[in-house]
């Protein structure tokens, strides 16, 4: 039952990514050129509601649908890992035009070359895991 719920959430997410065009390489390019409000509108409106919701959940101390405690983990405090890692991610986001969520969506939409990007992303994750202890965090 739970797996079914996750699957439905994922399907809905995939549809939204495709139909919003957030999965389009062109939209990401346009965003980084500040030529359109579209992507900023998506992220901005998601954030406006996301902040309201998250703060409300934290205050209400409510339980999950399954009766468990809802934990919204804070991110570990640091500067370097977020600044360096974030910039590396952004370079890839601009080049491949897809972040991880849209990668899955684009496989389903039949853009087979995205599999090369996904393979690269798994490889990048793997290499990070190998180098993790040598990198500044």
């Amino acid at each position: 039952m739970r797996s079914f719920i996750y699957l439905v959430i994922g399907i809905f997410f995939g549809i939204v990514m495709f139909k919003s065009e957030a999965a389009s390489w062109f939209r990401i390019y346009e965003m980084f050129r500040f030529d359109s409000f579209h992507m900023y509108g998506i992220i901005g409106s998601a954030l406006f509601l996301g902040i309201s919701f998250t703060q409300w959940v934290k205050k209400s101390k409510m339980e999950s649908f399954f009766g468990e405690k809802i934990r919204i983990e804070p991110k570990k405090k640091s500067f370097l890992r977020y600044a360096i890692g974030g910039t590396i991610f952004g370079l890839g986001w601009g080049l491949a035009g897809a972040c991880p969520g849209p990668m899955y969506t684009l496989i389903g939409a039949g853009f087979w070359t995205i599999l090369v990007v996904l393979f690269g992303a798994v490889l990048g994750t793997f290499v990070y895991g190998l180098l993790k202890n040598k990198l500044p965090h």
Binding site: S3, F13, S20, S45, F53, K58, G92, A96, G124
Partner: protein
């Protein structure tokens, strides 16, 4: 129904993304898509080489199911919820792309130079896709999250680390599009 077949405007799409994050929180999980890449490494046996991949990946199975759903959602949206999938981007972007040699701005969902099947037999296109993916995967794990984990979930929780990461995302993206694109295309 006819409107649904059109591209969805930002004021529909953005709230729906917030809704997805909210549902995941309400079922006791969190919204973060790049964690799946680490899980895939663990399933592939990367734990033998780094303790970073030595964790109980079965506890992350739910997120793989979300990713599987996203694949199905992409299939459904493309085949049953779309007419013309051309993305009508701004004219300035179209012209800038033409200068880079990408001619199908506003004629397609993805540029054929990188995502058409002919790209699979083009060494340069393959290399760019592979490097782009590598940077996304490496950077997401280094920063501890991607667009969903930091820009949506983290900022929604008012996390300063996520703000630093998102500023990094944009610094990297701006650098790529404005300074590196003219060198590689």
């Amino acid at each position: 129904m006819e409107n649904m077949m059109q591209p969805w405007p930002w004021y529909i799409s953005g709230p729906l993304i917030a809704f997805i994050m909210a549902i995941l929180i309400l079922v006791g999980k969190s919204f973060g898509m790049s964690s799946n890449l680490r899980t895939l490494c663990s399933i592939g046996g990367a734990g033998k080489l780094s303790d970073f991949f030595r964790f109980d990946w079965r506890a992350q199975k739910w997120n793989l199911i979300v990713a599987l759903g996203a694949i199905i959602g992409g299939y459904l949206a493309h085949n049953f919820l779309s007419g013309d999938t051309s993305v009508l981007i701004n004219q300035n972007s179209i012209e800038a792309l033409e200068q880079l040699g990408i001619q199908d701005g506003s004629d397609a969902y993805m540029p054929s130079l990188l995502f058409g099947l002919e790209a699979l037999s083009n060494v340069k296109s393959l290399a760019l896709l592979l490097v782009g993916g590598f940077l996304v995967g490496f950077g997401a794990r280094y920063a501890g999250g991607c667009t969903s984990g930091h820009a949506i979930s983290g900022l929604s929780n008012l996390q300063l680390p996520s703000l630093i990461a998102v500023i990094g995302f944009f610094a990297g993206g701006l650098l790529m599009v404005h300074f590196i694109f003219p060198l590689i295309f």
